[in-house]
C-alpha cells in the first residue's frame, strides 16, 4: 500500500463528504419543544387518571442505596396510579451524562430523568420540557430558594428539585481531641481560613520526608464543587452575573487570593495530598475531610467503629458552601408528558420526605424540614444551617461542562505548583473565549 494511494483515498472521502455537505439535508430532530401551553395545571388533588395503561421510563444514577430507595418510592406511586407503569434505568455516576446525552441524540430519551447543574445545557438545546405552567406558586414557595438555582434557564424552569446536598468538614474525633482542638458546632463558630490552617497544620504528622497523616482532604477533590466556596468566602465570583465573562471575576484580586490560599494547602504548607488517598479518612491517614452529607451513612455502614465529628465549612469574609443536587426533568420528546408530570409531582412532593430519609440526601422543602425535628439536631443541623445561610450554586450556564473542565484544570495546575496568577489568568481567557460565544 503506497502512501500516495492512501492519500488519494482520503481525499476521495473528503470530496464525497463535501458534496454531501452541500446538500445540507437536516437530520431528523427530536420532537419540537412543547410550544402550545399545557392544559393541565398541577394541583395537590389527585389528577384525573386516564383509563389507558401508560409506560414511563425513568433514568437515575446507579447506586446500591439510591436505586432500591427510589424503587420503593416508585412502587408506592404505582400502587396509587395503577395505570402508569414506571421502569427505572440507571447509569454509573461518571458516565451518567454520556448516556443521557446520547439518548437525546437518538431521539429516545427516558420520559423523566435526573438532571443536575447541566439542566441549562440540556434546556438550551430544546430537549427539556418547560414546567412553569405546572409548578404552582405555593409549590415553588415551599422550597428553599437556593434549590431552584440549578433548574432555571433564561427565566424558564425545566426541572423540579428532588433534594439538596451540601458539605461539611468531617473530623477524626480521636485525633482532634488528642491535639486539644476545639470543634465549632455552628456557622457562627466556624473556623476562619487562618484558624483552619492552624488546625490542619497541627493535625498533619510527618516523619522525615514522609507524611503519615494529612491535615485535610476533600471527598470531591480539585473541582468546582469543592473549591468554588473559596471564591465566595472571599467575596469573589468566578463569572459575570450573565455567566458569559470570567475576566475581572475569577482573576480579580479576591479570586487570586482564594486560589493562592488553596495553592498553599498543596505546595507550601503541604496539609493536603495532591492525589486522593482512597479510604484515607476512616483509615487514619487523613485527619479531616470535606465531604457531602451523604458521606455519613456510608462511613457508618462501612467503618462502624470509626468515630468522626461533622463541623461547618471554614469561612473568611463570609461563609460559603456549594449546594445543589439532582432534579427531575421531563424530555420534550416524551410521548406521555401528562403522566410524566404526575410522576414528577408525586416524587418531588408526596414522596419528598420518604425519599430524603431513605436516600441520605437533604430535604429541600420547608414543610418537610419543619415537620421533622431531627433536621434541627446534630448532625443534620450542621448541613441545614449552611444550606439556608451560606449556599453557593455552580454557574447554570449552558456551557457548564466546559466551565467544569476548565475550572478543574485550573485547580489541578495550581495544586501541582503552577504559578497562581498566570494559571488563573489563562483560565479566565479560556472561559471568556468559550462562554462569550
Amino acid at each position: 500500500m503506497k502512501k500516495s494511494s492512501l492519500l488519494i483515498l482520503l481525499s476521495l472521502i473528503i470530496i464525497a463528504s463535501l458534496s454531501m455537505a452541500s446538500c445540507a439535508t437536516p437530520a431528523p430532530t427530536t420532537a419540537p419543544v412543547a410550544d402550545q401551553p399545557t392544559k393541565v395545571a398541577a394541583s395537590t388533588e389527585a389528577p384525573a387518571v386516564s383509563e389507558k395503561e401508560v409506560q414511563l421510563t425513568y433514568l437515575m444514577q446507579q447506586d446500591a442505596v439510591l436505586v432500591p430507595a427510589m424503587q420503593a418510592v416508585v412502587d408506592d406511586f404505582m400502587t396509587e396510579y395503577p395505570n402508569i407503569k414506571v421502569t427505572i434505568d440507571s447509569a454509573p455516576f461518571s458516565e451518567y451524562h454520556t448516556k443521557l446525552g446520547t439518548s437525546f441524540a437518538g431521539g429516545n430519551p427516558p420520559d423523566i430523568f435526573w438532571t443536575d447543574i447541566r439542566t441549562a445545557m440540556y434546556a438550551s438545546q430544546g430537549v427539556l420540557m418547560p414546567l412553569d405552567d405546572r409548578i404552582t406558586q405555593e409549590n415553588r414557595d415551599d422550597y428553599l430558594a437556593t434549590a431552584w438555582n440549578e433548574t432555571i434557564y433564561e427565566g424558564v424552569t425545566y426541572a423540579v428539585p428532588l433534594h439538596q446536598l451540601t458539605e461539611g468538614i468531617y473530623v477524626n474525633t480521636q485525633m482532634a481531641s488528642d491535639a486539644g482542638i476545639v470543634l465549632p458546632t455552628n456557622v457562627e463558630e466556624a473556623w476562619t481560613w487562618e484558624e483552619f490552617m492552624d488546625v490542619a497544620k497541627t493535625l498533619t504528622k510527618r516523619e522525615g520526608d514522609a507524611t503519615l497523616v494529612w491535615g485535610f482532604s476533600q471527598q470531591r477533590p480539585l473541582q468546582d464543587w469543592s473549591m468554588l466556596p473559596l471564591f465566595f468566602q472571599n467575596t469573589a465570583e468566578t463569572l459575570s452575573p450573565d455567566l458569559t465573562e470570567a475576566s475581572g471575576y475569577i482573576n480579580s484580586q479576591a479570586g487570586i487570593e482564594a486560589m493562592t490560599f488553596m495553592g498553599s494547602w498543596y505546595t507550601t504548607e503541604k496539609i493536603v495530598s495532591v492525589e486522593t488517598i482512597p479510604d484515607g479518612f476512616p483509615n487514619g491517614s487523613l485527619a479531616m475531610m470535606q465531604a457531602p452529607s451523604s458521606y455519613r451513612p456510608l462511613l457508618e455502614s462501612k467503618f462502624p467503629d470509626f468515630k468522626f465529628t461533622i463541623v461547618p465549612m471554614f469561612k473568611n469574609k463570609s461563609c460559603g458552601v456549594t449546594t445543589g443536587g439532582w432534579n427531575l426533568g421531563i424530555a420534550s420528546a416524551s410521548k406521555h408528558p401528562e403522566e410524566a408530570w404526575i410522576l414528577v409531582d408525586y416524587l418531588t412532593r408526596t414522596a419528598h420526605e420518604k425519599w430524603v430519609t431513605t436516600s441520605g440526601y437533604l430535604p429541600a422543602r420547608k414543610s418537610v424540614i419543619e415537620a421533622n425535628p431531627q433536621f434541627g439536631e446534630y448532625p443534620w443541623v450542621v448541613f441545614m444551617e449552611q444550606l439556608e445561610n451560606c449556599a453557593v450554586t455552580r454557574p447554570a450556564t449552558p456551557k457548564y461542562s466546559f466551565y467544569f473542565d476548565t475550572f478543574k484544570q485550573m485547580v489541578v495546575d495550581i495544586s501541582v505548583g503552577g504559578d497562581v496568577t498566570s494559571v488563573v489568568n489563562r483560565t479566565a481567557e479560556a472561559l471568556d473565549a468559550e462562554l462569550g460565544q
Binding site: T30, V127, D413
Partner: protein
Amino acid sequence: MPKVQKLQREEIKSSFLLLLPATIGLLIFSFYPIVSAARTSFFDVSALSLKYDPIGFTNYIKAFQDKIFLISIGNTLFYTIAVVLLQILVALIFALILKNAFFGVGFFRTAFFLPAVTSLVVVSTIWKIFYHTDVGIFNSVLQTIGLAPVGWLTDANVVLMSIVIVGVWKEVGFSMLVLLGGLNIIPADYYEAAAIDGASGWTGFWKITLPLLRRSLLFVTVLATINAIKVFIPIYVITNGGPMNSTQTLVFNIYRNVFGYYKLGYGSALSMILLLIVGMVVGLQFRLLRSDVEY
C-alpha cells in the same frame, strides 16, 4: 489464452464471494458512520438536538487555532513514538528469549501476554493507585531503597511517560506473540549456513533475523501505531489530560468535545484531522518496512 482467463475469472469471483460479508459489515457499520462524521465536520451540530447548521471549513479553521488541540497533537505524537519504539523493542527482546522451549517458557509467555487480554479500564485504575505520589507502591519502593519519590501523576514532565509505561505494559505481549510467530518461520538452516560462514550471533541477528522479520515487524508496528495514536482510556481514567495539559491527547480531546460539550461537528472535524495524521504515518510505515520476502 482462454484457460488463464478462466482461472483469473474464477479467482476474482472467489475473491468477491470471500470478501462480500466483511465488506457489507464494514460498509454499514464503519464506512457509513465515517462518511457521516466526515459530512458532520462541515456543520455546527449539537449532539443533543442534532440540528445541522452548515459552516463550511470553520470547524477545521477553529481546530488550528485551538491551543489545546495543538498541544494534544504534540502529546499524541510523543506518546505514539515512545510507545511504539519501546513496545517493539521490548517485544523483540521477549520474543528472542522465549523463542525456544525451556522449562517454564509457557508460564512466561502467559505472564507477558496477560495484560493484553485484560480490561484497560480495570488495569488503568490499578496503575493509578500504584502511581500515587504519597502512598503509591512505586514511591514506597523507591523510598525503601533510599531514592527520591517521583511525581508519577503530578510532575508535568513525567506524567506522559507514566502513561507510556502503562501503554507498553498493556500491549507488549501481543507484539511479542506476533514476533514469536515471525521468528519461528525463519528456517533454522539459515542460521546454520551463517554459522558455517563464521557469522557471529549479532551478525546473524542483523543479517538474517531482522530482514526476515520485516513483515511481522511491519504488522506489529502498524497495529501498535494505530492503537497508540488512539490512546484514550488511560487518560480518561488516570489523568484527565492534566496536569498543565501534559496528557491532553487527540482522542481524549475528541471525546470531551463530543460527549462533554456535545460539539459533534467540531469533534468530527478533529477526527478527520486525526484520520489524516494516522493515514500518513501508516502509509509511511508501509513504505519504509515494505517486504517482498517469500519463503
